[in-house]
């Protein structure tokens, strides 16, 4: 559709060959990027939809089956279980990250001695990959050689070392803590940008008018931060819906498959059970949900500041 479309009639005509050459040069400049996106993004996307209409084993011949994958998916308890869990995780972790990141942003907002150091320290886990962070925490959470349960046991907080990965709640909340540790710094910086974007004159004027710190926060800071807060939440949601590494590495989807996320289940169906067509159908559903979320969120972002 995009590739090779002739210049549209309303583009400037008769401006001499130099202009046309300049157009060509411009196209050439963006061509590699466009080519990559076409080959490694648009084509796979269309292909994924095509595959979702097939019984497509990894080895052997694909067979066209129409919407049968989607029909099967509608009644697939395990798929919807994974979707429910993903939604639950997304809501909880987004709130948790925000609840930690916002106070941190307020804390490091005004530059004082050492503030930079604090910011850097809090931000450090962000640059560590999810893979390494998961490996690190899988050790911290281990009952025999890890840190948390032996420490709690030695401090006399528990009667015996508790295996954090043994029940859903302990597994889930440990992973939430890990994700907060890993991403709070990121959200802190985003929110900090918003805070610093509020002109100090506005704050000063409010202070002159006798507004208390509390009033200034709720009447000025928070409303003016709306867009930034929305952005921070959006980024958290988008990241959480696609969670995989931490649940795969730390919990192996356990205990008893209770922490299998949507991406994990798609991965498992596609690359463990080799039902590529079915995996593609599930991807399409996940994609539709994500695009919907994005569109809604973009709307939210577009609303004028303070409105």
């Amino acid at each position: 559709m995009i590739q090779g479309t002739p210049p549209q009639p309303h583009t400037p005509r008769r401006r001499g060959s130099r202009l046309r050459r300049k157009q060509l040069v411009g196209l050439l400049f963006v061509a590699p990027a466009v080519l990559l996106v076409l080959v490694f993004f648009l084509a796979p996307l269309c292909m994924a939809f095509w595959m979702s209409l097939h019984n497509w084993p990894l080895l052997g011949r694909p067979r066209f089956i129409g919407l049968a994958n989607y029909e099967a998916l509608m009644v697939d308890q395990r798929f919807w279980g994974a979707m429910r869990f993903t939604a639950y995780y997304t809501v909880i972790v987004t709130i948790a990250i925000f609840a930690v990141a916002f106070p941190l942003a307020l804390f490091v907002e005004r530059a004082r001695p050492l503030t930079k150091l604090y910011r850097t320290a809090i931000f450090l886990p962000v640059v560590v990959g999810f893979g390494s962070a998961s490996l690190l925490w899988s050790w911290l959470m281990n009952v025999d050689v890890g840190l948390f349960s032996p420490l709690a046991y030695r401090l006399g907080l528990t009667e015996k070392p508790v295996n954090l990965l043994a029940t859903f709640d302990t597994t889930f909340w440990s992973i939430v803590v890990m994700v907060v540790w890993k991403t709070a710094g990121f959200n802190m910086i985003i929110l900090l940008t918003g805070l610093q974007g509020i002109s100090s004159e506005v704050q000063e004027a409010a202070r002159m008018d006798g507004a208390s710190g509390r009033q200034r926060f709720f009447r000025i800071t928070l409303p003016l931060m709306r867009r930034t807060i929305a952005l921070a939440l959006i980024l958290s949601v988008a990241g959480s819906v696609l969670a995989f590494d931490q649940f795969y590495i730390i919990a192996d989807g356990g205990p008893q498959n209770s922490t299998v996320t949507a991406v994990y289940w798609i991965f498992s169906q596609s690359f463990v059970s080799f039902r590529l067509g079915y995996g593609a159908a599930m991807s399409m559903v996940l994609l539709a949900i994500l695009v919907t979320i994005s569109v809604v969120q973009l709307r939210l972002l577009r609303t004028p500041e303070g409105a």
Binding site: I2, G26, F29, V37, M51, P125, G129, L135, I189, D245
Partner: protein, 286 residues
Amino acid sequence: MSRKAAATRRRAWAATRYHVIGLVTSLLFIAPIAWSMLVSFKSTTEAARPPLPPWPVEGFTTQSYENLAQYGVGIWTYAGNSLSVAAATVVVTVFISLLAGYGFSRFQFPLKNALFVLIISTVMIPFQSILTPLFLILTRLGLQNTLPGIVLIYVTLHLPFSIFMMRNAFDAVPKEIEDAARVDGASVFLMLRRVMLPLVLPGVATVAIFAFLASWNEFLAALILLTDQRKYTLPVMMAAVRSGQFGTIDWGAVQSGVMLMMAPCLGLFLLLQRYYIRGLTAGAVK
């Protein structure tokens, strides 16, 4: 006098409270990393016990690193793979986004906006959902299970952010500079290299550091697309170390591997912090 003293005391108290909170919070965030680093210098037997205290009691040793070095075909092969994938991703991403950023900023051509929106909107679509067809396409191109194949995918993943960054960087350069150069008769490419490149270098640094971190750390695509053990990247290899060898886990080796994976990220960040934060805030402000 006494009121002044009270104010001073209040200020001192506020400052103390601020720094206590600051220090404790900072320690909490650094602790897991520091703990793991200390444990990576314990002996294998000591690393198999809870890390209390965290520092090696039986003396510092690099035994864990030596054990790690022997995994599979040797850990340096995997570190080398990761490094070449990350380096190649950085180079190709910078190159392509530099061109595209310049193109989108300075030229008029048909479908310009459509193409820009097309590239940027790919950020909405998670690549996890198109992994399977990506795998099939790479196979068709003969790039499945090759490092260049995975580099191309990483580059594509970073394009929306990078091109957005670079276009903004070029937009910020005043047109007059270019006009002056053009009068001197510089060709388009020469101008890009000699005149524009130095001016957008901060943007390049931002793009480069993001591309490096993301490709160095990526796990899922590498897990699926690389099947030959000699081509594993560090995250994939470490997941294998974590899953045990001879039916046992060497936790010391896991910690040293985690250190190996983290060190370049932390080092790079501490060196180029400014550019990294700039990238984040650029996204946040727009």
